[in-house]
Symmetry: C2
Subunit: 366 residues, 2 copies
DNA sequence: AAACAGCTGGAAAGCGCTTTCCGTAGTAGT
DNA sequence: ACTACTACGGAAAGCGCTTTCCAGCTGTTT
């Protein structure tokens, strides 16, 4: 009873205005307004609109009519707060405009749509710290799940700060799913068989007659890079072929990176007969570089990529690559995140790539 | 650190549990928890974390320490609800995996990041009704702004239902910005000069010597299609050239649509010497179709597109097109949406395209 | 020394909705 | 007709945070 009666209650205690109207012309229609218009209680209106429980038909009608008439839209924030649930998931990628991501995102978006889920998308532009920052934002948004798309980093500091965000998130019921290997994160994952795919490609290329290889790689700290490069060189080693270090060129993980790396490779000693770019985007850049330097593909040099992003089949020459079902991977990733956490253990779905020989590779010229 | 056992729980309603803990293991750390740990009031904790007003240094320290220690993350929903503001914007596009959109999205995402804004992305997969549905969801999320990317429809019904969502949204302070012409919507817009661009392209092609044209178009109800086709045919008409109706082929607005349209065109009477695909994606499909039918480009037939999506410069032959600064358009679109509504009138920013002649066009063979 | 700003920090009123807890009515059972 | 249920509908308690409104201090001012 120690409640001190405040004399000056904002808004006035006496009569609550029937219509709420903030300044600035803003005036959201609230469920309260709908209930009043329909002549029912707040609770009933809520029940009708959510179909939570049975409500007599005539009341139901009235509520719906009122809602439509007032053009009512529930406040998702209020809903989320009250029900402590959310219908949005967060997706973090490196770059929306990268066809690799775009293709995966397609599957993600479709699956999200099927489940009535809204996707919050963040682009890190290859900045690891921004990635962590975004996860924090998504956590604040109480996203139902967080999807990390794109290679993880082999970096202790990154692992630690990422875990610092992800662990509390998962502890409070958040679901996390990642594409590609992310060391140190105990989360569900969709994992392309990068090593195996690269190995299969290597064997196919050797079968074609090549013995002299070059590889265009992205930053070594990316798990995708080390896995693909590792699988490729290992399979080669098994057939007795070694790649000289000067034929492994590192550059950014992009089309322009591929262009630069290929140009650099041409400058170096003893040109290889076949080049493996660890991603299609780099291969596209390499193709352009070869064209600009009047090196014919596959006449003078063969080139192969990895991923099979949609556009590579339309290049001339069309690109030999390891095809990954990108769209389906996005689907499964979202599926993983949406599925009930059946077990405590993190689930892993492995995706096989398939070598697709196209016009960019041919036997080496004698 | 000697704080009183119980900081005098307000209201003295029985006993409020010191720690909130829902079942299911979920237990979000709340600002209340932080305040308790720091031995300050809820208000003070809030003030510290938001920098809203001055707080004594030692208290500030304690709050920050407590927040870090508990790994506290504010509940964005609660913040949004209490402050009736939101830091996310909604973006609706047709298809994330379309390079045209992807390029624009890049600019959008970058600008969003600069403003600390989270982007909620929705893909309609070319379904107009889904578009309206998403706008409703975004409205419910109280997105600060809604961006509509992609051509509008010339359709009364669509206009009406879209307006039914957008009008109340704008009335309550929501900002809307669209890319491309959207009839019937009174909103800010970034408008590519489609007519002018297509006209300039037409003239360039005529200058090359072409008189016999074919056009590959998307659904006529799309404003982008009608504008580009209109500009193209008009400019042609001015030079006395007419396109026979059988040389205008309609197909879906995609790579495969372009392939189908080109194939169909080849089947029809009297093949034109030059083909204009109203988007680059359709042109890419057409290029593939010509290749598959052994029609050499530009030897047998010339082809030009529109948009200049990043990949077309890497095709062989590289594609002649009307270049739009897609990334910058995305930037400006987001800029428009974030800028304070200075005037009541809707703002329009027009973007000029530039004809880029590349290898896919050449004078007609004699 | 009295009086007055100027700062700080706490209490509490919402933000709009969900959901539990009850009371009331309607229906059925005997 | 009377009790025992069941189905509905309303009141109200939060969900976690922001933001007024005040009270308590300290440092000035005259």
């Amino acid at each position: 009873m120690a409640e001190p009666a405040h004399p000056a209650v904002p808004g006035g205690v006496g009569g609550r205005p029937p219509t709420r109207n903030r300044s600035g012309g803003r005036a959201y229609v609230t469920l309260q307004d709908v209930a009043r218009e329909a002549g029912v209680s707040l609770a009933t209106a809520s029940r009708v609109l959510n179909g939570t429980s049975q409500v007599r038909a005539d009341l139901r009608e009235r509520v719906h009519a009122a809602a439509a008439h007032l053009s009512y839209t529930p406040n998702a924030h209020a809903q989320a707060l009250a029900s402590s649930s959310s219908t949005s998931v967060g997706v973090v990628c490196h770059d929306v405009s990268d066809p690799y991501f775009a293709a995966i995102a397609r599957g993600v978006m479709r699956t999200a749509a099927e489940h009535g889920v809204l996707v919050m998308l963040a682009s890190t532009f290859h900045d690891p710290s921004r990635e962590v920052e975004y996860v924090a934002m998504l956590r604040a948004q109480r996203a139902r799940a967080i999807l990390l798309i794109g290679s993880g980093f082999e970096d202790r500091g990154w692992e630690r700060s990422m875990s610092a965000e992800l662990d509390p998130y998962q502890r409070t019921g958040g679901r996390v799913a990642v594409l590609s290997r992310h060391r140190g994160l105990r989360v569900d994952a969709v994992l392309p068989r990068n090593r195996e795919g690269a190995a299969a490609l290597a064997r196919a290329l050797v079968d074609l007659g090549h013995r002299d290889f070059g590889v265009l790689v992205g930053p070594r700290a990316l798990t995708t890079v080390s896995d693909r490069l590792g699988g490729f060189t290992e399979a080669l080693a098994e057939t007795g072929v070694r790649i000289p270090p000067r034929h492994i060129v590192e550059a950014p993980f992009t089309r322009d990176g591929g262009y630069a790396a290929a140009t650099e490779l041409l400058r170096r000693d003893r040109r290889p007969t076949c080049v493996f770019a660890v991603t299609d985007m780099m291969a596209i850049g390499a193709l352009a570089a070869f064209r600009d330097h009047a090196v014919s593909v596959p006449g003078d040099i063969s080139i192969a990529g990895f991923d099979d992003v949609p556009v590579v089949r339309d290049l001339t020459p069309s690109l030999t690559t390891v095809a990954l079902p990108l769209d389906a991977m996005g689907e499964r990733l979202m599926g993983l995140a949406l599925r009930e956490p059946s077990t405590r253990r993190s689930r892993v779905e492995r995706i096989s790539g398939e070598v697709v020989m196209r016009a960019s590779t041919a036997p080496p010229s004698a």
